[in-house]
Amino acid sequence: MNEENAEHVHPDNKTYLFIAAILTAVTGIEFGCLYIPALAPIVAPLLLSLSAGKFVLVVGYYMHLKPDPSLFRWVFLVPLGLAAIVMLMLLGLMR
């Protein structure tokens, strides 16, 4: 078994709690953003960025994609990229 495939250390419970606190705060911020008129011009990119941040935190830490071997990352990211391309093409063609 090479280094890549060796046992990978998962985050500890403190890290999990910290991530949960961030996820809760970001969800609250997302909700609050809609009620601040000054943010209207940037609300779409802001919400998408916050959502992407939550996505990365859950996948990276809770699904252990960050500490786990890179093969898992590729098995997930390739179809995810393909799904994103399908979405963009469908929206480009149909909207």
């Binding site: 419970n13 949960a20 997930f76 399908v86 929206l91």
Partner: protein
């Protein structure tokens, strides 16, 4: 490494069940990507009936989103407890995760019931068709996860879920967290962006 554990490993040194499950999750990305695209393509094209901005209940959905995020926390704590051989907390956290999943489903039932009372069904208009298909498909995934978690809780209760079975819990966790990340996307695309009037 025991014979039982060795049977699940390949020349890559990785657990075959985990590779298979990540592949399944990859295919699920395509499924939900297509459903979300379909929703977005038809969004705002309904000729009759209640539309997105008239009917979506954002505060309620924000609370249900919080519930699902907290269920993910309970899931990782369950995995940590199973891995360390802590039977009591394995049961507690697995049951908590299943319970929070049930609460999320309860919120969805309330939302769907409200919509039907407002006159929006799956056959009312394009919004109804795409919305119920997308969120219903996600809800079905949550329901499968709740059944899976309940099974694991029963196994833990019977003392049949020791550290040697931690991979079973990790795979269930992968499924549960994936359901969570799909909801993160749906919450943003269907609820937040539409409520903000962004198309």
């Amino acid at each position: 490494m025991s014979n039982t554990a060795a049977a699940h490993y390949t020349s890559t040194g990785l657990d075959t069940r985990k590779i298979a499950f990540w592949t399944f999750i990859g295919s699920e990305c395509l499924l939900f990507g297509t459903l979300i695209s379909t929703y977005l393509v038809y969004e705002g094209r309904s000729v009759v009936g209640p539309t997105t901005q008239e009917i979506l209940n954002l505060p309620l959905t924000t609370i249900s989103t919080f519930v699902l995020l907290m269920s993910s926390l309970a899931m990782v704590l369950a995995l940590a407890a199973v891995t360390s051989g802590d039977r009591k907390y394995s049961i507690v956290w697995l049951a908590t995760t299943a319970l929070l999943g049930l609460v999320f489903l309860g919120f969805q039932v309330v939302e769907f019931t409200e919509f039907v009372h407002e006159g929006l069904t799956i056959s009312t208009n394009l919004f109804g068709s795409t919305f119920f298909t997308l969120t219903g498909c996600h809800g079905l995934h949550v329901a499968v996860g709740v059944i899976w978690l309940t099974t694991l809780t029963i196994l833990a209760f019977r003392d049949k879920l020791g550290p040697e079975k931690a991979m079973n819990v990790e795979i269930c966790g992968l499924y549960w967290h994936f359901v969570d990340v799909v909801w993160i996307v749906i919450f943003t695309v269907v609820y937040l962006l539409q409520r903000g009037g962004i198309r």
